[in-house]
């Protein structure tokens, strides 16, 4: 078929089609995303400016920033925020430390390394409801295995109510989350370790560098980028996660295991105060934006590669 002469309507159409083709491929994904993300986010912003109650949606009035000033005066908001800081800091630090040790060990060669690498990831694949259930059973006051073990080795003489005591509840839930997430760090860091050329270690050894100095001068710089990425990802993920707490303690006893997303969820789910809950969720998002921005900037670097 002969090409149409230049400047005709047919050719203009073809040019238009060529420009529009990529967007055509994007339409289904963009439509669904608009429905489940853009619209809800816009709606959340609207809710946060209203006194929206789920059981009386028609009575919702525009209240400006009253929800926000209410949150700043809300004692539970500050308690939850404090717990969120402890929660994120403690969990990410513990996951990183344990994950780093695990990765360094799994990078050594021993004959069952392949099996060890595969099995260590299992906690990461499990549903949070199961994780909550497993650990609730371990921490159980009456017949829990933790109390039994600690009594057997003589660390405690009486069973202790781990999840029902204000002093220990948050730490116990945090332990469950550390358990779930440390394999993620191990896997990421291990991938980074595998990119370090062996020659670097050989050269360092010839120069007489100790193992510790090899770690500081060869390993650490090589995995710094991947550790930073993993830490940013985990901070966001841990800060948002609430289902394990929900299953293990429901936020109690009292407010001792309330974190910000859990508090927002409880106000929406139990209190049906969608306006106030939306405000709390929005405040959490704003607090996290800086970290999201750092992460996205790092990831976007090789978008055009």
């Amino acid at each position: 078929m002969a090409p149409p002469p230049p400047g005709t309507a047919v050719q203009m159409n073809q040019a238009a089609i060529r420009t529009l083709t990529p967007y055509g491929f994007l339409v289904p994904a963009l439509l669904v995303t608009a429905l489940v993300i853009l619209y809800p986010v816009a709606q959340t912003v609207l809710f946060s400016l209203q006194d929206y109650l789920l059981y009386a949606p028609d009575d919702a009035r525009f209240v400006g920033f009253r929800n926000f000033s209410m949150a700043l005066k809300d004692e539970v908001f500050w308690i939850s925020l404090k717990h969120s800081a402890v929660w994120v800091g403690g969990i990410v630090f513990a996951q990183l430390s344990l994950g780093l040790v695990t990765a360094l060990l799994l990078n050594q060669s021993f004959w069952w390394r392949g099996i060890a690498r595969a099995l260590v990831i299992i906690p990461w694949a499990l549903p949070s409801v199961i994780i909550g259930l497993m650990w609730t059973w371990i921490f159980d006051f009456n017949t829990g295995v933790l109390n039994d073990l600690l009594i057997r080795i003589g660390l405690i003489s009486q069973p202790y109510a781990w999840l029902a005591s204000p002093q220990s509840a948050l730490a116990c839930v945090m332990l469950a989350l550390v358990w779930q997430g440390f394999p993620f760090f191990a896997v990421m860091i291990l991938a980074g370790l595998q990119t370090v050329p062996k020659e670097l270690y050989e050269a360092a050894e010839i120069d007489g560098a100790s193992e510790f100095r090899q770690f500081i001068h060869v390993t650490a710089p090589a995995i710094a980028g991947i550790v930073a990425t993993a830490v940013l990802l985990r901070i966001i993920w841990v800060a948002n996660s609430l289902d394990v707490i929900l299953v293990m303690t429901g936020g109690g006893p009292g407010y001792t295991t309330h974190t910000l997303p859990l508090y927002a969820f409880l106000r929406a789910y139990s209190g049906m105060e969608f306006g106030y809950a939306a405000t709390l969720a929005l405040m959490l998002t704003i607090l996290l934006l800086a970290i999201v921005w750092l992460y996205v900037r790092q990831q976007a670097k090789d978008l055009d590669a």
Binding site: P40, I130, K301
Partner: protein, 278 residues
């Protein structure tokens, strides 16, 4: 002599620590499995009876025969398959476009897919519930599946873009020269090549959807309730029946653990590829 010494050194410095970490990683899971096959009488003993007095599957039987659990398992299967279908059907074309075209807004749109993956679930879940209620999709498979596309679409796009990028463009060009149209090229050349990546992405989305709890809890009712939500309700209902609860936990966790082990090598490679580059 020195060989034996280095073997000993490896055992003390590497293998024993690895073993301890593995015990920590697997013990809670193993304890759940062990609990699920103990007779009820063993479970109320303190000090704890570690080895079962006899192995029994009575909790599993009770769970399947007396509760809605088998229906919940089926619901989870439908939802997870639906999430995979909806996720891939929308993400494959989008990822292809991000990989093969350069167009205005590409970078911004791709970045936004990364950002929305980080939004707190609580931020989305409240308005999504109101929206689904308006659309009459509460307690329908479609409602939960659409809810799960909040994570399945952004995740799949990011995974698939890197798989598409790994296929040399010369192949597309060669196919075009041979007279294949764009759709033929995609169907006959590209899709077969990214099949392994497609399967990995599908399995990951399946696992995530199967495991998901908060969206499922908000958007499902009795009709389409998946296993995670059902089990959480059992926890409230049967507080002391640990045999039943752990049997349920095992039935939910075993399929995904096995799936995960099957694809873990490729999955880990896919997940870390981007991060290693950066």
């Amino acid at each position: 002599m020195s060989l034996r010494r280095s073997a000993l050194r490896s055992a003390v410095q590497v293998e024993i620590p690895v073993l301890l970490i593995l015990v920590f990683a697997l013990a809670p899971f193993a304890w759940m499995l062990l609990t699920s096959v103990k007779p009820t009488a063993d479970l109320s003993l303190f000090p704890v009876r570690y080895m079962p007095s006899r192995i029994t599957f009575e909790h599993y039987q009770l769970l399947i025969e007396r509760t809605s659990f088998s229906i919940n398992l089926l619901n989870s299967l439908v939802i997870a398959c639906g999430a995979v279908l909806l996720g891939l059907a929308t993400s494959v074309p989008a990822a292809y476009a991000f990989s093969r075209f350069r167009f205005p807004g590409r970078r911004q749109i791709l970045t936004s897919f990364l950002v929305i993956n980080m939004f707190p679930i609580v931020l989305l879940i409240i308005p999504l519930f109101v929206l689904m209620r308006k659309l009459g999709l509460i307690d329908t498979f479609l409602g939960v599946i659409i809810g799960h596309s909040t994570f399945s679409i952004p995740f799949s796009i990011w995974m698939l873009v890197s798989y598409f990028n790994a296929i040399p463009r010369e192949l597309d060009e060669a196919a075009t020269i041979d007279g294949a149209s764009r759709l033929q090229t995609i169907r006959l050349v590209i899709i077969p090549l990214i099949m392994p990546g497609l399967v990995t992405t599908a399995i990951y989305v399946f696992i995530t959807s199967w495991n998901e709890y908060l969206f499922a809890m908000m958007l499902s009712g009795q009709t389409v309730r998946p296993v995670t939500v059902a089990l959480q309700l059992f926890i409230g209902e049967f507080t002391v029946q640990w045999g039943l609860l752990t049997a349920g936990g095992a039935l939910i966790a075993l399929p995904v653990s096995i799936l995960f082990l099957l694809v873990q090598r490729r999955l880990v490679a896919g997940l870390t590829a981007g991060a290693v580059k950066a």
